[in-house]
Symmetry: C2
Subunit: 431 residues, 2 copies
């Protein structure tokens, strides 16, 4: 795209071209994806060189090892994202899906059909694979995309974006189908573009997502916090409980679907806590418990604040509850409506919990870490939504689409119905 | 509900009870609706008396006839809303609908199921029937509701709300399932309740909806403007065109789905405009046209501002366009993404228009006035959304629902998949 234009002008152009992008056939969109995959492989070395620059700079800046690990974009990771693109090509078209077909009256046919949202801005962290995943999800779903990656990956992102952009446009996508922004001021400029940008998806820290939400009229899809719970019911299988709790807490701590709080039915405290505590010790998990927990195991006192904290670390708060209702109330009050799990062998208790916990994911006997677009079979995800509007939970292709109503008539007017000369008959066709 | 609590305390209580409301069986919800219908009939006279007070006050205040007409809630209108409740009882349950059923791996089953949004605040105009329609839609969809009607209908609304509330709670719905607010300050208080209120639906003037959107973190569903277009294509049938344009413009002018701008392909200007102008004259429609229009008929000059104006009156702006692309571009630029129609006998042109116009409703050969929940067969509507997130177009029961993911495992942990000991197999079950 021309760079002598302001961000606002560029997004306006994009908005105008978004209906062309929406009209691209599945064949053109898949060909573009194929071209992107081919070019990423062909230009692998160029990407790796750029990534090495970013890594060098990051090391010089003394960034944490975990950041360096995520920043690294080597041959293996490139092959990984290309595999992801091939999976995406094989997914069915999310566009033009007929969701409803209803004859309102003789010759008056209403059809609801899926279509792209339009122009989507995504702000994401310093993982170069995120640039590939998000841009290709937008291509497959016919959306124009504004992409802002983390500044630590600047060189890599620039090279990767150019490869994707050129491959996509050469394959026939509109010139303004995507754009990259790099500067922080550009984010501020985007926040003001509510007339051209249909949706913002910020990924990153809680504070950052809240900042975005408070400073724009553009609808925002994202999650503010990930305070996930496990409730070990009185009929929990202790062995399963330990296995699931350890996985949910320790398999990867720095993510939103890791468990932060454990609620234990008081009837099983003595059976569960000692053995669980041994498992926590081998994984270096710090436990903060309420008094009844501390009566059984040696641990720090949990405060009110602990239950409202997303640790993203090897720390877990543990509370004893008298019954399932107390667990549900605690989760609905302190949780972030992300993902919460019950461990029980009692199916009725499980259904009751899953009905009453007000979260995007309600689980029975499995790790909260399953809350993820890839693990749900969505191909990839652009984020996880804890809001209730539009998309909830992991957001894949479907969450990047909306729908429109098409009404086909033959001179039909409302006055005929208002005056009683005609009547609607509402016949739904099977779809 | 107790009245010695602040609005914030009341909405918090409502939020806590919203999971109970969500768990109400279809039978209990339908029984509550039946009880509401019965009580409205039984207490008809009490309602009419209260309404007469409102009407008297409105007359004294010199309110317009059209306002008085909408404010009036007589036996006929009461019977009408009761009929609407009976239709609503017969609609299938919007809750617990399985939208996806996928086995991720042996014994690991993912189910996506519809559920209520939670706590919804609706601010609506001075039509007492709106109070009944909105509250009953919320009951059927298992949502807790905060209801604020127009102040002109205060006495009627108070009586009607009490009848509905008592009938609903006596039928078994939770005590905090709905509440009425009356004062303007109470709206301000609600805007600050983003921790307990999941969705706001403001109905009313453009300025009012914009005010709400700019002053809350709560997601807002509503439309800011209704600038609907009709494009008369070069292959339009003139007779149909006149009939549809007159209906769209004049059948009811004070509503968002009335047409405000007509775009005419230059090839049919001479055929269409003179006969259309005669029809406009009989309906007292004022025409504001571009120069090419004024070369054919006698009318005012249309300005840039006209094309961005929602008249809600017997005024129409008319523009000549060179081709269908110019029409589409005009609509996407000046329109409000509400409802836009093409008049043509050329199916390909119709499909092209309907694909490329970025609106909630894209119509062929029928009046824009059809954009309405009742006419779409939704029973009733809580509003029409011109946003693209969540619900688009007329919003009925489905738009008041979200979904949750239920994941059933038997000790499944993510580490088994991360380490390659197990693999997902993603088998979708037909639903």
């Amino acid at each position: 795209m021309k760079t002598d234009m302001t961000i606002k002008e560029q997004t306006k152009l994009m908005k105008l071209e978004s209906s062309k992008m929406a009209a691209m056939s599945l064949e053109v969109r898949n060909n573009a994806l194929k071209a992107v995959a081919d070019e990423l492989i062909a230009k692998k070395e160029e990407i790796i060189r750029a990534n090495e620059e970013d890594l060098k700079k990051a090391e010089e800046d003394g960034l944490q090892k975990s950041v360096l690990k995520r920043l690294k974009f080597n041959e293996e990771k490139i092959n990984g994202v290309v595999e992801g693109i091939n999976d995406l090509i094989n997914l069915t078209d999310p566009l033009g899906k007929v969701q409803m077909k209803r004859e309102l009256d003789e010759g008056l046919l209403l059809i609801r059909e899926s279509c792209p949202i339009g122009v989507i801005g995504v702000i994401f962290e310093s993982r170069p694979d995120a640039m590939v995943q998000i841009s290709t999800l937008c291509i497959k779903s016919g959306n124009c995309a504004i992409l802002k990656g983390g500044s630590e990956a600047m060189n890599t992102n620039r090279v990767v974006f150019n490869i994707i952009y050129n491959a996509a446009v050469n394959a026939g996508l509109p010139k303004n189908c995507m754009m990259q922004i790099e500067a922080r001021e550009d984010i501020t400029a985007i926040l003001d573009c509510h007339e051209s940008v249909d949706l913002l998806i910020p990924r990153g820290s809680n504070a950052f997502v809240q900042y975005i939400m408070s400073n724009t009229k553009i609808p925002v899809m994202g999650h503010a916090d990930g305070i996930c719970h496990i409730y070990a019911d009185k009929d929990a299988d202790i062995e399963k409980a330990v296995k699931i709790i350890i996985d949910s807490k320790t398999q990867y701590t720095a993510v939103c679907n890791a468990t932060e709080t454990l609620l234990v039915h008081e009837d099983i405290l003595e059976k569960l806590m000692p053995v669980l505590n041994e498992a926590f010790k081998t994984k270096n998990v710090e436990v903060r418990g309420t008094q009844k927990i501390r009566n059984i195991i040696d641990c720090e006192q949990a405060t009110e604040e602990d239950f409202a904290t997303e640790y993203l670390d090897l720390i877990i708060s543990v509370k004893s509850v008298n019954n399932i209702d107390e667990a549900i109330e605690h989760i609905n009050r302190y949780g972030s409506h992300h993902t919460d799990c019950i461990i029980t062998e009692d199916d009725k208790a499980a259904e009751y919990f899953m009905q009453n916990v007000d979260s995007a994911g309600v689980y029975k006997n499995c790790s909260t870490r399953f809350a993820d677009g890839y693990r749900y079979g969505f191909g990839a995800e652009v984020g996880i939504s804890t809001g209730k509007l539009h998309a909830r939970g992991p957001v894949g292709l479907e969450g990047l689409c909306t729908y429109k109503y098409k009404l086909y008539g033959d001179g039909h007017i409302v006055d005929d119905y208002a005056a009683g000369r005609k009547k609607f008959h509402f016949k739904d066709e099977q779809i």
